[in-house]
Structures are given as structure tokens and as C-alpha cells.
């Protein structure tokens, strides 16, 4: 226990590469973070920045080949998941670490009744008998706010709406009371009002059960209200890492600043919405310098030449930029 320092999850220098015809893609390249019990960590970034790969690596669900976890450690309560046997990892999946996926329309098996899919988890991990598992499934459906759970538990997924299916997914994920819940863009496929309900539900259940959570999203509005800490990812690297309030108040990285400026502000009448110029880089062929340099407004000659340092701004605020200190000072004066 002493090695875990009260951290439930401790990811150290995680690197996951994919072998493609285009060469080696460093989808995740040296990610480190800690997560304390009961806390929520947000991971934001554009598509292809390595958010999902990070989390699939944590429970070793990277398709191999072409993917492989090249290095690093994922310590769950001090035990390195990456060094465990496959059968040991299977006992962790769904029991201690559960996942909610992006698209509730495809993440439930269309040929299995809801009851059977939910019972499978608890029968597997909690040793429930059929009837115990069945009752537990109904109880979980009630917990996530499915009306008439007893009548609907034997329905097929296509008989549920998108929001209801995501509720089912949440019920399934929480049915073994996991210590860590990984939500991979849980609301991206839902429309806005349903998003709000689902987020509210996740937040409420998290408070009740006290599980830790990793929330992956590209919606800054979502992380603002939900998370304690934030990681901003770009091209497989952590660009900025801080507590949520600190990061929103004083971003110390030009990329984070760009992301925040891209959020429409209903209080200000804006002309054209700001967008970061250019496209995310091809991770297979990264330039030697800062991967964000070609799109960065304040890039200088050094940025294309040298890889930026990971600067510690305050004790819990890090930024990957040659000019991290300056950017940080600027946003302090703005705030």
C-alpha cells in the first residue's frame, strides 16, 4: 500500500504504439498521471490525440497487433496491470475498472436481452446465481432511472432509446461497484438534453458510490462541471496538466488557450467562432520539434527545432511548451 501513496491509479510513462503501413504511430507517448480515490480526472483533446488509446491501455484492451504497449506502468493500488497475466486482468475488468463507451447504440449486443447482458457481469465477478443476478440487474436499472425496470429488463437493446441505452450501459458498468469508472466520451453520441441527464446521473452515482472516474471528452463544457483534475492531450502527449479550476482560470499552454477560445460564449456576441488553424498532425511522422508548432500562433524558431520541456508552473500545474512560463504569466494578468 505504501507504494500507491493513496493513489488508486498511478500511470507512469505509458507508451502505446501502433505498427501501421505508414510506420510506427506513437498514439500514446509517455503519459503519466495519478488519480486519487473518489476523484475525477478529465482527459480532453482533439480526435486522434490518444485519449481513448490511453484508457484502453489501462485495462489492456489495445488490439494486438497492430497495437502494443511499449513501456510504462499502470499501477492500480500499487499493482502493475501491464505485468499481470491475461486471466488476472480479466478479473479486474468490469470488477474493479469498468468502462462506459461512446456510442450506446453499438455498445450493447443487439442479439442479447438487456437482462442477459447485465447478468453476465455479476455472475462472472460476484458469483451471483441466475436469480440473484436477475434481481441485481433490475435493481441497477432502477438506480439509473429506467422506469418499470422489471418489465423492461427482458427487452432487447433496440427497444430502448439512445439515452436509455446509455443508462443501461452505466447500470452495467456500476453493477459490480468498480473502484474506477472510465467513461469514454459517454455523451458524444447523445443529443444535448439527454447529455445533460446522463452527466447529471453519472455525477450523482459517482457521489453515492464514491468511485473514481476518468472522463474522456472533447467537450470542455462537460469537464468543467464534472472533474477535479484535467489533462490536455495532443499528438499522444500531455500538453497541460492541472486542477480543473486552475486550468480554466490560467491556462499555461497556447494549445489549451486555443481550445478554450474555440468554445462559443453565449454571453459575448461573437463574430466568427475562433478555431485553431490547421489540422492535428500525422502522428506517424512527427516533426522533431513541438508537434503543435505548425498551428501555434506564438511559435518561434526554437519550437520547430527542439522538443519542448514539460515545465512545472506550480506544484500541480504542468505545461509542455518552450514558453510555458510566459503564457502562464500572460493568462494570470488577463485573469
Amino acid at each position: 500500500m505504501s507504494s500507491s501513496n493513496g493513489n488508486l491509479l498511478d500511470v507512469r510513462n505509458l507508451r502505446t504504439y501502433f505498427d501501421t503501413e505508414d510506420g510506427e504511430v506513437k498514439a500514446v507517448d509517455g503519459i503519466s498521471f495519478q488519480l486519487k480515490r473518489g476523484e475525477t480526472l478529465g482527459i480532453v483533446g482533439e480526435s486522434g490525440s490518444g485519449k481513448s488509446v490511453t484508457n484502453l491501455s489501462i485495462i489492456r484492451l489495445i488490439p494486438e497487433p497492430p497495437g502494443r504497449i511499449v513501456g510504462g506502468k499502470v499501477l492500480l493500488d500499487g499493482v502493475d496491470i501491464l505485468s499481470l497475466q491475461e486471466s488476472e486482468v480479466r478479473k479486474i475488468r468490469g470488477r474493479r475498472i469498468a468502462m462506459i463507451f461512446q456510442d450506446p447504440m453499438t455498445s450493447l449486443n443487439p442479439f442479447m436481452k438487456i437482462s442477459r447482458q447485465m447478468m453476465e457481469v455479476t455472475q462472472l465477478h460476484l458469483g451471483h446465481t441466475r436469480s440473484q443476478a436477475y434481481e441485481h440487474a433490475i435493481k441497477m436499472l432502477e438506480t439509473v432511472g429506467i422506469p418499470e425496470a422489471r418489465a423492461r429488463v427482458d427487452n432487447y437493446p433496440h427497444e430502448f432509446s439512445g439515452g436509455m441505452r446509455q443508462r443501461v450501459m452505466i447500470a452495467m458498468a456500476l453493477s459490480c461497484e468498480p473502484e474506477l469508472l472510465i467513461a469514454d466520451e459517454p455523451t458524444t453520441a447523445l443529443d444535448v438534453t439527454i447529455q445533460a441527464q446522463i452527466l447529471e446521473l453519472i455525477k450523482k452515482l459517482k457521489q453515492v458510490t464514491g468511485t473514481s472516474m476518468i472522463l474522456i471528452t472533447h467537450d470542455l463544457g462537460v469537464v468543467a462541471g464534472m472533474t477535479d483534475h484535467l489533462i490536455v492531450m495532443y499528438a499522444g502527449k500531455v500538453f497541460e496538466q492541472a486542477s480543473t479550476s486552475e486550468l480554466f482560470a490560467r491556462p499555461g499552454n497556447p494549445y489549451t488557450q486555443g481550445l478554450m477560445r474555440s468554445v462559443p460564449d453565449p454571453l459575448k456576441e461573437q463574430g466568427e467562432l475562433y478555431q485553431i488553424p490547421g489540422l492535428p498532425p500525422d502522428v506517424a511522422h512527427l516533426p522533431p520539434g513541438c508537434p503543435f508548432a505548425p498551428r501555434c500562433q506564438r511559435a518561434e524558431e526554437i519550437c520547430t527545432r527542439e522538443f519542448p520541456p514539460f515545465v512545472e508552473l506550480t506544484c500541480e500545474h504542468f505545461s509542455l511548451c518552450h514558453f510555458a512560463q510566459e503564457v502562464y504569466e500572460e493568462s494570470r494578468t488577463e485573469a
Partner: protein
């Protein structure tokens, strides 16, 4: 709503009477818009709305069934298949009750036996005794055709079941595991494919030649089943390849389900549509092969009969006693047509996005 005046998001300082400003806009600090209290209300509303529609369960199968019933040829095929199957199963018993004829009964007493035409008594007058006539030895042809149908259908169905069992598990395993194992397994299939399967079956049947007629039939099941699974394996593998990257498989893996369980509980049921269609189309193919083998003399041995062996017997006297070939042949053709219609109909019903409309 008041539509004359353009609504500017910023000017909620003086709200128009008709334009109630969205209270969410005033929440900016701390909590996000999503968690504003009015959404809790919306939540309750939606739940109330969903509560009312606990609809009768319409499963995928019921939809497919409805589509199948709209297809006239398929319905005809289905009725014909059911009719022929029932007739083959119960027919010989009924005939025995009615006329005392069994498939093997060679009437005694008649000095030299010759085949009687359909609906004729041996003396040439009209009679219901032999609706399809008799064979060379005076056995009732209807009873023999029905009994032959039992064997033919059984060969078709059992060989198809064998091919289902092997083909589905082989294809699903190869497809799911992927990579080198998949490559190895499917190349083995390719090799088997390239061998002329009729010759394999003939070799199998002659090497393991059984002494009893029943043993020969069982050998036929095994021989036909063991070569007809190849296409099934390919079909299932193709399905699995597209299914295994779907999110529900990842979700199942993320809950700690073991690999065999994922293959057989989560993925295989999803391939059932194409599998059923192909199995339905395999039955006539296997029956045809069986007829062909029996025709060559490798198939069902006397005293058992199949449609193929009956046709073989019939063809020897085709000039004089054409009914000996016509009745088994027509019955078999009808069955094969019906099964093919049914298979086509099932394909259209189970895959509504298919090209044929």
C-alpha cells in the same frame, strides 16, 4: 413566439415580454450549463413520457417473419417443404394402414412380377392401390418415394447440421483470433476447397465401406458434412471479422468476459442471419450430392432407398416404365425448388438492406 425582432444572445439585460431569456445563460460561474436545475425538470418529464410506452416486444425475428410472409415464393416453398417433410415422416405409416403396403413389401402370389402403371391394378383396371405405380418387383412406389424422402431429407439436414457445427465454430474462431492463426486456418480451408470434393466423398465412402445399409447412411452423413462446412466457415469468418471490431465486443471484453464466451455467446448469435440462409441453401445442395452419389452407386444401399437410388433404379427402364423415374425425380425437384425459394426468401427477410427488393 415573437419573431419580428432578431434575438441577440447578449442582450438579456432588458428581457422582452415575449422573449423569456433562458436562465441557463446567466449561469456561467462554476457549474456548467448542463447541470442547471431546469434540466432536472426535463429529466422527470422525459422519464414520465418513457414510462407510458412499455410497448409490446417486437423482436428482430418477428420483423423478419413478417417480411418472409410477404414473399409468395418463400411461403410456397415453406408450405411445400413442411408438407413434403410431414408426408415423408407419416406417409409410410398411413399407407400401411390404408393399403397394407410397406416400402419393402414384395407382393407374393403373382407369378411374374412386373411394374404396374400409376393408378392401375395389376390387371389394368383403375385402382387407388398404387397411386404412383410399382417398381420392378411390385413394391408400392409411393411408399418407397416417401421412405426415400426420409433418407434424403435426413442426409440433407444432418449433413447440414454437421457443417453448421464445424463451419461456424471454425470460422468464428479463425475470424475472431485473426492474425497468423486466422491465416493458417483459412489456408487449410483453401487447400480443402481446391480438392475435388466428390472424389473425397467417394474415397471416404469406399475406404470406410460399411457392411450394413444403416452404417452406410451414417457414413454418408459424415462424408457430406465434412466437406460442406468449408463455405460455411468462410461466411462465418467474414461476418465475425466485421463484428469483432464493433463496440459491443469491446464492451464485453471490458467487462472481463473470456474469449471463448465472447465468440460463442456474443458474436456467433449475431451471425445467425446469414448462417440460417446458407444452411437452408446447403440442404438442397447436399441432397443433390447424395442423389448423385446414390446414382453412382456409392450412396444409400438397398433395402433402404433415397430419391437418388430410386431414380437410378428407374432410369434403367425409362423407356418402358417412365413413372419409376418421373415420380422420385419430380418429388426431389419440387423439394429442392422449395428449399431454394425458402432460402432466398429468408435471405431477403433477414437482410432487408440487401440488393434484391
Amino acid at each position: 413566439m415573437n419573431n419580428d425582432r432578431p434575438t441577440i444572445p447578449g442582450d438579456h439585460d432588458q428581457p422582452e415580454p415575449g422573449l423569456t431569456p433562458d436562465p441557463a445563460l446567466s449561469y456561467r460561474e462554476g457549474d456548467i450549463i448542463h447541470t442547471a436545475p431546469e434540466f432536472a425538470l426535463a429529466d422527470a418529464d422525459v422519464l414520465a413520457a418513457e414510462r407510458s410506452d412499455v410497448i409490446a416486444s417486437t423482436s428482430l425475428w418477428r420483423d423478419a417473419w413478417r417480411r418472409l410472409l410477404k414473399n409468395r415464393l418463400a411461403v410456397f416453398g415453406m408450405i411445400a417443404v413442411v408438407f413434403i417433410t410431414v408426408a415423408c415422416l407419416l406417409g409410410p405409416l398411413v399407407i400401411k394402414q390404408l393399403t397394407g403396403m410397406t416400402p419393402d413389401l414384395i407382393p407374393s402370389g403373382v407369378g411374374h412380377i412386373r411394374s404396374t402403371p400409376p393408378l392401375r391394378a395389376p390387371d389394368g383396371s383403375f385402382s387407388w392401390l398404387h397411386p404412383m405405380g410399382t417398381d420392378n418387383q411390385g413394391r408400392d412406389l409411393l411408399a418407397r418415394v416417401l421412405q426415400g424422402g426420409q433418407i434424403s431429407l435426413m442426409v440433407g439436414i444432418i449433413a447440414t447440421l454437421v457443417s453448421l457445427l464445424i463451419g461456424v465454430s471454425y470460422g468464428a474462431t479463425a475470424g475472431y483470433l485473426g492474425g497468423r492463426i486466422d491465416n493458417l486456418m483459412m489456408r487449410a480451408v483453401d487447400v480443402l476447397y481446391s480438392l475435388p470434393y466428390i472424389i473425397i466423398v467417394i474415397v471416404l465412402l469406399s475406404v470406410f465401406k460399411s457392411q450394413t445399409a444403416r452404417g452406410q447412411v451414417i457414413l454418408l452423413f459424415i462424408a457430406l458434412g465434412s466437406v460442406s462446412w468449408l463455405t460455411m466457415a468462410r461466411i462465418v469468418r467474414g461476418q465475425v471479422l466485421s463484428l469483432k471490431n464493433q463496440e459491443f465486443v469491446l464492451a464485453a471484453r471490458a467487462t472481463g468476459v473470456s474469449t471463448p464466451r465472447i465468440i460463442f455467446r456474443h458474436i456467433v448469435p449475431n451471425t445467425l442471419g446469414p448462417v440460417i440462409v446458407y444452411a437452408t441453401l446447403t440442404i438442397p445442395t447436399v441432397m443433390l450430392t447424395e442423389a448423385f452419389l446414390s446414382f453412382l452407386g456409392f450412396g444409400v444401399q438397398a433395402p433402404l432407398a433415397s430419391w437418388g437410388s430410386l431414380a437410378t433404379d428407374g432410369i434403367q427402364n425409362i423407356g418402358i416404365f417412365p413413372w419409376q423415374l418421373v415420380f422420385p425425380g419430380v418429388t426431389m425437384a419440387l423439394t429442392l425448388f422449395s428449399l431454394n425459394f425458402l432460402g432466398d426468401g429468408l435471405r431477403d427477410a433477414l437482410d432487408p438492406q440487401g440488393s434484391r427488393q
